[in-house]
């Protein structure tokens, strides 16, 4: 089993999962005209190589909104039941790093 002994880290906001998995429903597209900072556009173009700018911005917005939604969910769960204890974090991290 690959990964044994390694401690793979999350890739940050563009985690692999999001890029590799298809959504359950294909969203309709809408053509809009927006104005962005040129420096931002240059950076997005450089980061995504030859990909279409629309697709790149679409993905970045998808990731950003998904993070917002997850943060809302966690916030709601913590308001209802309190934050997770340090012991809970220790337990789940131990299960992740557990050898096969």
């Amino acid at each position: 089993m690959a990964g044994s002994g390694k401690r793979p880290a999350a890739e940050g906001p563009r985690g692999r999962g999001r890029n590799a998995l298809a959504p359950a429903a294909v969203p309709e597209k809408e053509k809009i005209s927006i104005t962005l900072d040129k420096t931002l556009v240059d950076e997005i173009r450089a980061h995504f190589g030859g990909r279409a700018l629309s697709a790149s911005i679409n993905e970045l917005l998808h990731v950003a909104l998904a993070q917002e939604r997850l943060a809302e969910l966690v916030g709601q769960m913590e308001r209802e039941a309190g934050p997770a204890s340090p012991e809970a974090y220790d337990r789940v991290l131990a299960q992740w790093f557990e050898a096969e």
């Binding site: 089993m1 998995l21 939604r69 969910l73 974090y89 789940v92 557990e98």
Partner: protein, 142 residues
């Protein structure tokens, strides 16, 4: 209270019990996994097949639906279905429950590995043995 640590896993995938543990919000370990994932920008994913297995299709789904609005529902693509079939065979498992579990593990593999919130870590671990290039670990929920 101490801030949640940054999740070291690339994704979180929920099986049926994982989804309900989040929906009921009565499992502190599930809350820890989601909080750490949120801090690290890690996606939380449920395969669409899990919804078919676990939802009722009526008002009993209300809490699960609240969760589903805020996480990602992933399609069971041809590639994921084929990967699940192979994992099931390698694990020597059969039946509908094993098929859904295999889809959960195959989805985690397609996501680059990650944590699976489940009440049945034994079966998930057995299926994950067939994944050779990424780390997949079950985290037990009640």
């Amino acid at each position: 209270m101490k801030k949640a640590p940054l999740a070291p896993w690339p994704a979180v995938v929920l099986d049926s019990q994982g989804l309900w543990a989040v929906a009921r919000n009565d499992d502190v370990d599930a809350r820890a996994v989601l909080a750490a994932s949120s801090r690290a920008g890690v996606p939380v994913i449920v395969p669409a097949a899990v919804l078919a297995e676990t939802l009722f299709g009526d008002e009993r789904d209300a809490r699960a639906n609240q969760v589903l609005k805020r996480i990602e529902v992933a399609a069971v693509t041809d590639a994921i279905a084929r990967s699940a079939a192979k994992l099931k065979r390698l694990a020597g498992m059969a039946g509908v429950a094993a098929t859904i579990d295999a889809v959960v593990v195959a989805t985690a593999a397609a996501a680059g590995g990650g944590v699976i919130l489940t009440s049945d870590p034994g079966d998930i671990r057995a299926l994950a043995q067939g994944v050779t290039d990424t780390r997949i670990r079950p985290v037990r929920v009640s």
